[in-house]
Every structure is written in structure tokens, then in C-alpha cells.
Amino acid sequence: MTVIVAVAVLAGVLALATVLGLLLRSRTGRAKPSTTSADGTASTVADLAPPTAFGTRATLVQFSTPTCARCPATARHLDSVAARHDGVTRLEIDLAEHPGLASRFNVLQTPRSCSSTVPGPFAPASEAHPAHPSSPQPSTPS
């Protein structure tokens, strides 16, 4: 292989990496309304923690992992959102302790947050970033 071809290969790798980077960047930080899962059931969050861990109006659920650099900053951000609204708390789920939840909630990267609301006017999704906030069906902790 000549120098020129080798440099061209390198340029190709860097171009691919750039495309990947732009793709990843476009996927983070956007809110999506949730869809029901393939078998038609909505994801509920009620079984993730004891009822006292949920807010009376809404709960901001954050999925984290031990190697997640952005999670503490997101935690602080969500805590400040929760502090501004009565009845809203943040619930942290460590995927290292609950690995089954990663596919159940379609977590592809962390931090990943979603909001679970009791029926009522509340829309924190646009404030929570850089994760993908999505709204599962309302679930009331019994």
C-alpha cells in the first residue's frame, strides 16, 4: 500500500467516526413521547422502588451506571427541577444492580431519564437533558 492510499484509508475512518459522532449527538438531549412496547404493554415504573420513593405528582427516573461520566451532573440537574415543583422527586436506578431494566426501558446510553406522572398537568421532559426523557404511561404507586 502506498502512502497516499494509507492516508486515504485514515481519512475514511475519520469520516466514519465523524458521521457516528453527529448521529450520537443528534440522539442525545431530545425528548420523545413514549410508545408502548412491541407486545402492546406500556412500561410501568411502579415496581422499581417502594411507593415512598415516588413523588406524589411525578417522578423523574434516572438510569445510571458506575462508569457514567455525565450521570452526576444530570442528577444534580434533575434534583433542581424536582426542587422547583411540589410533589416531584428524582428516583435513581443503577443498572449495575438491575440489569434487566436496560432492555425493558430500551436504555442505550446513560444517563437516561424518563418521567412518570400521575395524571395531571406536568411536563418536565423538555427540561431534563442530556438524556432522552420519555413519558411512560402514568403509574400510581399503590
Binding site: 475512518v13 475519520l14 451506571t65 462508569t67 452526576p72 435513581e92 443498572l95 446510553q109
Partner: protein, 159 residues
């Protein structure tokens, strides 16, 4: 769980990105050198150096990494203090990932597998490039993927 703003443990988040930028350049040079037969040996030597650097970061921890020392002495004094500190575990994990990829590439290359060196270097290059340029957190992505692939078992036995 990672914590920050713990001033004895926290690191300036720009330091690992600085290191990732240097690594990106070194890996780019490695790819070119190992693709050209005349410079293949030089490329392998450079790859071995990269493996050694990843080993320092991955095993001794990101804070003992030579790039961190370089950052603190040369770059950091010219910048404003960081807005917040980052836990060292995620960048250390990223170093371990880099170590694994480049060490396997080096080993396969020494065993004579064709193109093992440039391919492995390219994989590591994409990761380092994404971190340096797009601030992608490899640990944020990879750990979850490994969890979903079933590589990790639950920590406390509760699924």
C-alpha cells in the same frame, strides 16, 4: 455510583479529552504506518507505546496518566477553572477499553494476522476521536450495552 465535586477525587473533565486528542493523533499515525509495509515495524512500535499508555491509565488510574500530568502543567494554567469536576472512574474505564482493543490488535499483529494492527488502531481511533471531538462518553454507552448483552450479573442479586 460516581460522584463529583469531591475535590480530592474529582478530575478536570477536560483532561481526559486532552488525552483522547493526543491518542487520536497517535492512533492515526499508527494506522498509516502499519498500512505501509516499509513502515510496519515503526507502526507496531508506536502501537506498543499506545498500549503501554492505556495500561498506565487503565490500571494505575486516569490520574496517574502522563497526559494528565502534561495537561496540568501545560494546558490547565491557560484555562479557566473547570465548572465542575468529574469522577475518575469513567475515564479510567475508557482507558481499559482502549487497552483491551489495542492490546488485542498488537498481539494479533505480532502473531501475523494481516491488518490486525490498522484495524484495531482504527477501532480505538473512532472511540478516542468521538471522545475528543464530540465529547462522547464511551463508558456511558459501552457499560449499558454490556449490561444488555448480559455480560454483567446484578450486583446485589436483585434483577
Amino acid at each position: 455510583m460516581t460522584t463529583t465535586n469531591d475535590t480530592d477525587r474529582g478530575i478536570d473533565p477536560r483532561s481526559p479529552r486532552f488525552g483522547a486528542a493526543i491518542t487520536t493523533v497517535l492512533l492515526a499515525v499508527t494506522i498509516v504506518l502499519t498500512l505501509i509495509p516499509e513502515t510496519w515495524v515503526a507502526g507496531i512500535v508506536l502501537l506498543a507505546v499506545i498500549v503501554a499508555l492505556f495500561a498506565v491509565g487503565g490500571i494505575a488510574g486516569i490520574r496517574r496518566h502522563p497526559y494528565g500530568a502534561l495537561f496540568r502543567r501545560v494546558v490547565r494554567p491557560r484555562l479557566a477553572p473547570p465548572a465542575e469536576l468529574e469522577a475518575p472512574e469513567p475515564p479510567t474505564f475508557a482507558q481499559q477499553v482502549g487497552l483491551f482493543v489495542t492490546a488485542v490488535a498488537l498481539l494479533l499483529a505480532l502473531l501475523g494476522v494481516p491488518y490486525a494492527a490498522p484495524i484495531g488502531a482504527a477501532v480505538a481511533l473512532v472511540a478516542a476521536f468521538l471522545n475528543a471531538v464530540f465529547d462522547v462518553c464511551i463508558g456511558c454507552l459501552l457499560y449499558v450495552w454490556l449490561v444488555r448483552a448480559g455480560v454483567f450479573r446484578p450486583r446485589r442479586g436483585v434483577a
